[in-house]
Symmetry: C2
Subunit: 271 residues, 2 copies
C-alpha cells in the first residue's frame, strides 16, 4: 500500500461530511476523495439489496481513484453493505458502526445503551449485534428518528419543533433508563446540543464520526501507512447530483481548508 | 389508440397514490399501471437533469407496457420533466401542475395564490408560470415545505408537531393575504385537515390530484377513449424498492379494490 495515496470516503449524501470533518481534524496530512450519492439519497429507508448495490458501485468508483482505504461514512451502508463489500475490496474498509459500538460498550455504566438512527440502521439490528458481541450483558434499545435528517437540512437546529420531536423520539429510550446513546446517523452530531438537553447531562452521547476517525488513525498507524508526503492535501469531492446544495452544506460544517478544497474540487459524477 | 389499454401513472414513490385514488374514484373502469421509484425517492431536492433522466426511464417502462396515456403523478417531475418528455412520447401525457393551476386561477377571488410543495417544485416556478399565463393579474407566493412529507410518512397526521410546522410554513403565505393555496405535492392532501385549520376556513385549498383525475376523464372522453371493456380492472403496481412498505401505504390510502389489487399485483422492478 502506498502511504501517500488518498483515503476514499462515501455516504448517501452530505451527512458523511461529519466524518470527513473528524478525519481532517485528526489526520490533517491525509488526502480525501469523497463521494456523496446525492442523486439517490437517502439510503435510510431503502432495502439491503439496493443499498448494497449502490455501495458496491461507489466503492468501485473510489478504487478506480487509487485509494489506500475506504471509509463507509454512512450508518445504513455500514449496516447493510460493509460485510459483503469488504470481502470484494483489495484495500481495507472501515464502517462507522463498529467504532461507535466499541466506544458505547466502554462508556456505559449500567449496560443499558440507546441507539438512534434511520429506519434502515435500526431495523438492521447491527449496532445491537456488535454491542452484544463486545459486551454480552448489555441491553440495547433502538429508535428510528426519521424526522431528524430533514430537520437538520431545514436548518432548524436549535429550535422548539426540533426539541419537541427530540423529546418524543427519546422518551422511549429514557424510559428504559439508558445511560449512553449512540448518534447512529451522520447528521445527528449536528443536533448534539438538543439531544443532550433532552437526554440530560447524565447520559453519554457517542459520536461514531469521531470514533471512526480515531479508528482510521490507529489502523493507518499500525500498518505504517500514514501519509508523509509533506504537501498540503488536495481533497476531492464528487456528488451524483446537486453540487450547489452540497457545496453550501460542506461550507457550513467543514473546517476552512475543506471548504476551500470543496470550492475548487467539487465534481458531479454520474455512476 | 385502443380504448381498453391501461393508463400509466408514475411518481417518485408512494405519494402518487393520492392521484391513483382519485382516478379510481372518477374512472372506476380504467386499468392502471403504476410505477413508484422508491429506490430513488425523493425527487424534490434533485436537479432538473436527474429528475428528467429518471422520468424518461420510467415513461419508457410504462410505454413498454402498452399504456394509452401517461399521468405524471409527481409535482417535481411534472415541473422539471414533463415538457421535455411529452415531445418524445407517442401517447398523451398529463401532469399534475396544469390542472391544479387552472383550478386555483378559477377559485381565487383576490388574485393572491399560495403554492406549497417540495423545494424542486417551488424552485421550478412552474405553478407560477402557468398561473400567470392563465390569469396575468394574479400574484403567486411559493413556499417549500420539506418536513411535510416525512411527517406524513411518520404518520403524524393530526399532531401537535405537524400543526406547529404547518403554522410556521404557512405564516409567510398568510401574511401575504392569499385566499387560495395549491397543495403542490402529492403527499399534502393527507395533511389537508391540519393545513385547512392553519389557513382558516376562508382559504380555498386546491388538490391537484383530484383536478388531474378530472382532466384525465375529460381528455379520454373527448378522444372517445374511455375503457368499455366491461371487465373489472386489474391494476398493476411496480416499485423500484421496498415493496412491503409500499403495500402498507397503498392499503392505508387506496379504496378497497385498489388495496386488493395491490396485494396481488405488486412487483419490484429495477430500471
Amino acid at each position: 500500500m502506498d502511504r501517500n495515496l488518498p483515503i476514499g470516503v462515501f455516504d448517501s449524501g452530505v451527512g458523511g461530511l461529519t466524518v470527513v470533518k473528524e478525519i481532517m481534524n485528526q489526520l490533517p496530512q491525509e488526502e480525501i476523495i469523497y463521494f456523496g450519492d446525492t442523486a439517490r439519497v437517502p439510503y435510510g429507508d431503502k432495502s439491503k439489496e439496493t443499498v448494497t448495490a449502490y455501495s458496491r458501485q461507489i466503492t468501485r468508483f473510489l478504487l478506480s481513484k487509487q485509494v489506500k482505504a475506504v471509509v463507509v461514512a454512512c450508518n445504513t451502508a455500514s449496516a447493510y453493505a460493509l460485510d459483503t463489500i469488504r470481502t470484494e475490496s483489495p484495500v481495507p474498509m472501515l464502517g462507522v458502526i463498529e467504532p461507535g459500538a466499541k466506544t458505547a460498550a466502554a462508556a456505559t455504566r449500567n449496560g443499558r445503551i440507546g441507539v438512534i438512527g434511520t429506519e434502515g440502521t435500526i431495523r438492521s439490528g447491527l449496532y445491537e449485534a456488535y454491542l452484544r458481541g463486545i459486551r454480552p450483558d448489555s441491553q440495547v434499545f433502538g429508535k428510528a428518528c426519521p424526522l431528524f435528517v430533514p430537520l437538520v437540512e431545514e436548518g432548524w437546529i436549535e429550535d422548539d419543533v426540533t426539541r419537541q420531536v427530540s423529546r418524543r423520539y427519546l422518551s422511549e429510550l429514557l424510559a428504559q433508563n439508558v445511560d449512553t446513546i449512540v448518534l447512529g446517523c451522520t447528521h445527528y452530531p449536528l443536533l448534539r446540543n438538543v439531544i443532550q438537553e433532552t437526554a440530560g447531562e447524565a447520559v453519554t452521547l457517542v459520536n461514531p464520526a469521531y470514533e471512526t476517525a480515531c479508528e482510521l488513525r490507529r489502523m493507518l498507524t499500525d500498518r505504517g501507512c500514514l501519509n508523509d508526503g509533506g504537501k498540503a492535501p488536495a481533497h476531492m469531492f464528487y456528488v451524483s447530483d446537486g453540487a450547489e446544495k452540497f457545496r453550501k452544506f460542506a461550507h457550513s460544517i467543514l473546517p476552512c481548508g475543506g471548504a476551500e478544497a470543496g470550492e475548487v474540487f467539487l465534481k458531479v459524477f454520474s455512476l
